[in-house]
Structure formats: C-alpha cells, structure tokens
Symmetry: C3
Subunit: 333 residues, 3 copies
C-alpha cells in the first residue's frame, strides 16, 4: 500500500524541493537502508555523508541541508526533521491501520464502578478494577491491569502486561516476621503518558504514587510506592525507582539505572544507564556510575586490586611523607 | 467514610491518652503530611520534631514518647508503633473494602485437577494449571499463572502478572546448538508469602524450587530453577537469583541485586541494592558492591584509571622498593 | 509412575553396562541427591567422587568413566552424557505429560487474520494480533501477547507473560515534550527459539527486530527495537539490550547484563553477568565488568577512594618524578 508524497505534505506541511507531489511512497525507512519508494530523514548532521548515497525517494532535512539535499533529489525542508519524521510515522500509522481503537474488548474484565471514557480503549484480557478511571483517548493494550481507584489521564498508552496499582512493598518487622502494611494509596497518572510492556507502578502506602504529564516509561521498569515523577521525564527499560523517590521534570534516566528511595532528583537531570543513585541530586547534571567492561583476565586483576584501594591510598600517603621527610632532611643537610 | 478512634482501639488495643474515643478518623497518613482527621504514627525517634508540628487527630507512639505526644493531643501508646500502624492499615482495609475476596473468578482458567481451597481467591484472567494446589486464604490477584503441579501455601498473596512454574533455563550444548532440558521439578511456596507484580519463579529442573514461609518478594524479581529461599527473607524489586542458589532465612536482599547460581548465603545476611554476589557468604553480615555515582566528567577520568588499577599498584610497589633501597643505601653511608 | 530402563535405551540408545533393562526408573535426579529408582548422570569429571557414593539405579556416563561406573552398578555409556540426559528429560516428559499440546485454547484472543499452524499451540488467555504468524510446533504458553504482524518460527516456546511486538521506545524531543515515533516495524523470530516468562521483545521502529534460529532467552529480559540476535545465542534473565544493538551468533550473555544501543558484538562473545557493554566488541572473548562485593565497611572506604582514583594516579606520577629527579641529582653528585 503506497501513498503520494503530496498527501504527506498536505497533512504535515514542509517545503517540497527537487521532486514532485506525485512521487509514490511505499515505506518510511532509515537513511542508511532506504531505497526507491522510501521516505527518509536526516536529523543529525553527523550522518550527512549518508545523504548523497541514499536511494530514498525523498529525504526530510533541515534548512541548513537544503542545497545538499536538493542536489540529490526530492526533499522536504522543515525546521525540525526529527519531529517531522515522528509526525510522519503517526500519519502513516493512521493511513495503514485506521483510526485508533476505542471501546472495551469483550474479553476485558472491567468493574462496573470503573469509569472508562467513551473514546478510550481497553484491549483484550485487560483487568480494570473498582473505581478506576481512564481518560479520553487512552489505550490499554492487551493484558493490562489497572488497580482499584487508580487513575490514568488522557491520550496515554499502556502496553501489554503493565500493572498499575499493585501493592507497594511495605512490611513492618515484628518478632522475626513481617506484618503487611496495607497499601491504601492510589496511582495517579497524568496525560500523554506512555508505559512500556510489563512495567509495574505500585500504589502508594498512604499517599498516592504520581506520574505527571508527558512521562515516557520503557519496558520492565519498577516504580515503587509513593514515587513522584515530574512531567516529560523519560525512563528507559529495566530501571528501578525505590519508594518515595521524587524525580524531577524533564529528566532522562538510562536503562537499568536504579534510584534509591526517599531521594530527590533535580529537574533536567540525566542519569547514565546502569548507574545507581544513592543520594539526592539537587543540582541538575549528567551523572554516571558504570563499571568499566574489560577482558575477563584484566578485570580479575583490577577487581582484586580494587578491594585494597584504600590501602593503596594509605601506601601513597606514606610514600609522600617519606619523600617529604627525605627532602626536608636533605635540605637540612 | 470515617471511623471512630474507639473502634480502632477496640480492634487493636493500645493505651489512649490526651483525647477521646469519639474522635473521627478519616484517613491514615504519614506524620509529616497529616492533618485534621488523620491517624498517624511515629516509629523512628529521628522524626520526633515532626510530632509537635503535626495536625494529626491522633498519633501512635512508643512509651518513651508518652509525655511529648500527650502534650500535643490524642495519642495511642504501644510498644511497637510501626507494627501497630501496620495492623491499623489492615483493619482499615477490611472496614473500607470489606472482607477478602474468595472463590474463582469466572474469567480465570483453572484446570479441573487443580486443588483450590474454598477460602482462597483466584482473580480475573488467572491461569491455574493441572495438579496445582492453592492453600487456605491465598489470593491470586489478576493475571497470575500458577504452573502445573506447583503449590502455594496459606495466606499468600500473588500480585498481577506473577508467573510461578515456568520452565527453568536449562539447555545442554550439542554441536553448536542447545538441547532443551525439560524442567521436571515444581515450585513449592510456603505460608504467608507475598510475591510482587510480574515476578517469576521458575520450576526446578529435577528437584523443586522452594520458597519458605513468610518470604516477601517485590516486583519484577527473577527466581531461577532450584533456588531455595529461607523463611522470612525479603527481596526487593528487579533482583535476580540464579539457579540453585540457596538463600538463608531472615535475609534482606536489596533491589536490583544479583546472586550467582549454586551459592549459599547465610541466614540473616543483608545485601545492598544493585550488588552482585559472586561467591557464597557463609558468615552473616552486611555486604555491598555499589559503583559510586559521580558527575560524568569525574566518572570518565576515574573509570579510565580503574582500567589500569593493578598497574598503579605495581607502580606503588616499585616506588616503595626504590625508596627502601635509597634509605638502605643512605643508612649504609 | 515408573518406566523400565530398557524403554529409555530403546528410545535414546547408549550402551547399558552393569545392570538390566528391567530396572525400574521412578525419577531422573541429580547425582548428589539420587536414590534407589533414580536415573542420574555424570557429565563433569569434577564430580566423579559423587559417583561411587550415589544410590542411583543407573548413571549416564562418558566412555572415560566406564570402569568406575560399572563397578558401582548399572550405567549407560554415551559420548555426551549431558546431551543424553537432556534428551532423557524430553522423553520423560512425553511419557508423563503426553504429547505436546496443540490448537488454540478457547480463552485465547486470536485475530481472524492471524495465521496459526495447525500443530502450534496457543494457550489460555493469550492474545495474537492481526496478521501475526505462528509456525509449526510452536507453543505460546498462557498469557502471551504476540503483536500485530509479528512472526514466530517453528518449534519455539514462549513462556507465560511474554510480550512480543510492543512498541519500541522512540520519541522525538520537541519544545520540552516528546512526540511519539510510531513503531512501524515487526518482530521476526526464527525456529527453535525459547523465550522466558515476562520477557519483552519490542517491534522495530522502521525495520524489524530479529531473533535468529536457536536463540534461548531467559525470564524478564528486555530486547529493544531493531535489535538483531544471532543464531544459538543464549541470554540469561533480567538482561537488557538497547535499541539497534547487533549481537552475534553463539554468544552467551550473563544475567542482568546490559548492552547499549547501536553496538555490534562479535560471534561467540561471552559477557559476564551484571556487566555493562558500552562499546562494540569486534573481537570474540570473555568480557567482565562486575563490581566486587565486600563487607559494607570495606566497601565504603574503597568506594570513597575510588572517587579520587585519578587524583591518586596523579600523586603516583608525581612521586615517580620526584624520585627520578632525586636519583638524577644523586647521580649528578
């Protein structure tokens, strides 16, 4: 199934150069593997050498690339090629898959007290518990659980296997065993939030767990009870955020990162993947704690040395003192 | 919906001071955010300065805080305020949500040979396979899979998405490919065990995977085949425990920790979050292996240095020898 | 339910010594816990001292162990005891559980446009979306989601909770928010692939995510969009592989390892568990990046020192220079 380039321009705007609106577009494709019939894009000037070589029918480019792109063939010039490309994928999907689904799939189990907006979608084998609320245009793909009294805003996407509102992990120690602390809070999710497959967001212990507008969370992420995630923060896969951590807005948390509980992370903070955050980060910045990878043989030597690292420091200190004493006594001579 | 303070005292005991049984309680709330109508608690003396400032209708405190608390207003004095608070949340939940669910939801798929206690609950869209057994008072929330011949004891809670009894990860290498080792063991889970959302416990290869009484496991945890977890151990989210590891009783495993296979961890061991356990820990203790977080620029320098750490040690050794030789020759002068 | 040893030999071959075909086998069991009626195996010569002590009815051994094993009692001699054992578990399972299931469970939600081979199995409460394809002999255990247009080859096993074909994590930044990049690619999975419980494999952004023949993936693994995994690679639990990473064939990725996006890993590479791969590995080898575990008190000192590691290096450099200068001036005397 193909579309005409003119249809894309009519829908998304942009300036067409070096080609015609009647060009047939069969696919949207990455620049380095694009061929005839493909619409592609160049957003990072680092890849400009791929432009000349590309067989794409049309390439989306920034104004700075105008001449270079036009020399090659058809191009769409737009201020933000990457955002244009993103909107093109959305338009493409609607053309090919039709309008977004709405309504409640017959196999879903939705409690009679739950409030599901008429434009929302609850997919196959989802569970929506009592008094849960789902806003306009929100989609629960297949096999999502939305727990009791939890709320999801508008235009959200919850991917398969997501669990919103399971109990937070709270127990009081007593005589060598653990007494369950019933989790009486809820989960409240804002608008335009996307949550990846099999990710879990626990309900709060007493207050609520809160995810603000525009947050994007990848697959298999664990969000513990009473976490608060600020607007437009992105969190990559396998990450864990412990109880009552407060993550700012516009943060970027790398994959498999972990954040201890009861911390505060400043707006706009960037955390590298697999890094462990053990203290609050009141100052936005770019923070990393990745163990370097080495050939195993090298690693074994370095890891063994690491275990005596502060001993090494003491030895250096002693060497410095010895040398200083030597020099003093030499000077004293 | 409110309750009277007297109802709580009647149910849970404790000594009421500085206030009346007719006080209306609307909520259980954390001390620092509590207001009129809230029941709160103070278990950690570190937060005692929050006590005087709190607007809570009533605060649960230890005997040592008796005067301080009474001066502020109504308080319940009890030996273990945190445990009292935990029981209060349980009582609260029953008041508001009613008695625990029981029975098998119409949408669950339960094999005819499975044995489900009449007081147990199998929630929406769960799967209970052949010859599985579920004890009294145990709850499978929505979308749990309990595999063939696996057993869950009494009063357990399995949260949504839990998978008990998938095949362990066992393959024999043969001619560049892998031959599946069918996993013929089961999973046996004791009483009073709680297992978090989307956590997986694999069946044993030949013998069983065993989780003893009172174990609490958080979300997205991976328990491999033939692991044995001792009673009352708690395991936080995203943790992975490899095959045939034997974890003692009363251990505390931090989030995103990992434990290699075929190890033994002593009773009462505490493992910090994100730590990797590569050897048996026969002695109980508090073990840590967290990579320190730094600003990325600092990290880059330190990580690069780390890769030559044992070379640095050799250089220190050489310096020490040179200095020792110098001093010896000086002394020899 | 027991079988006769002769039945196993008839099915799997091997040379029987020191015992009779009429021996009753009740169980397959590990050598160190085997007893009367058990079939066991010895594949690693390191455990040969367990052989003499074993009560097993029959032990599978390699030719080198022939005399030792026969002296003890019945044994099956075969070139690869571990592979023989694996095939014995498969045979055992068929004897006890019957032939593999086939067909579509009544509770599964399978789109009318999906193509499911008649010998495949789609278990309870699975979701198979439009235009998905499932090959001969493939089994989707309970509660699996196979997304739109995704393909799974022959003889694969997808364990409960697996999500194939959720959207990859792709967003274009725009004015402080994120625009969704619709994920238009698919997931294509080869033959003889096994995927563990609650593991996620995202669909490609434009091109496809590809998992080649014979790959084995454990539980709770995250495979991001456009990843390519070569044939017969094994990936242990909790691992994360970021977008567009290209993993070679015959690799072994340890549990909770992480691999950054857009990297290439050579065929036959071995990555230790919990290691983070931040660069391409064009040369096959054995790579490790594990933070050493220590008692917390030791760790605190070493971690604090680590934060100044490059400062220590500078101090060593300075010591070396000072000493060299000293010696030069001494020599100059």
């Amino acid at each position: 199934m193909s579309v005409l380039l003119g249809q894309i321009l009519d829908a998304l705007g942009g300036e067409l150069l070096g080609g015609g609106r009647e060009l047939q577009i069969l696919r949207i494709a990455p620049l380095d593997s694009s061929g005839h019939g493909d619409l592609s894009f160049l957003s990072n000037p680092r890849y400009r050498q791929q432009l000349a070589a590309s067989q794409a029918a049309c390439v989306i480019v920034a104004p700075a690339m105008r001449e270079e792109a036009q020399a090659r063939g058809a191009c769409i010039v737009t201020d933000d090629p990457y955002a244009y490309f993103a909107r093109a994928t959305q338009w493409w999907k609607v053309q090919h898959a039709g309008a977004a689904l709405r309504g409640i799939h017959a196999s879903a189990v939705v409690h009679e007290s739950a409030v599901v907006h008429e434009s929302a979608y609850v997919g196959p084998l989802c569970v929506v518990e009592a008094n849960a609320r789902i806003g306009a245009g929100t989609m629960l793909k297949s096999r999502v659980t939305l727990g009791e009294a939890c709320e999801v805003g508008e235009r959200c996407i919850l991917h398969p296997g997501v669990v919103i509102g399971a109990d937070g992990f709270g127990f009081a120690p007593s005589k060598g065993a653990w007494i369950k602390i019933e989790q009486l809070g809820r989960v409240r999710i804002g608008n335009d939030v996307e949550i990846g497959a099999n990710t879990c967001v626990d309900r709060g212990a007493l207050d609520d767990t809160v995810i603000e507008d525009g947050v994007k969370i990848d697959n298999l992420v664990q969000i513990a009870h009473n976490v608060h995630i600020g607007a437009h923060t992105v969190i990559a896969g396998n990450t864990g955020i412990a109880g009552s951590a407060r993550i700012g807005a516009h943060c970027q948390i790398g994959g498999a990162a972990n954040i201890l509980g009861h911390l505060t992370i400043a707006d706009g903070t960037v955390i590298s993947p697999t890094s462990m955050v053990t203290r609050s980060l009141p100052k936005p910045g770019f923070y990393t704690g990745i163990f370097p990878l080495q050939e195993n043989e090298q690693w074994e030597k370095n890891a063994a040395t690491f275990k005596q690292l502060y001993v090494l420091r003491e030895r250096i200190k002693k060497l410095e003192q010895t040398l200083a004493n030597d020099q003093r006594s030499n000077n004293g001579n």
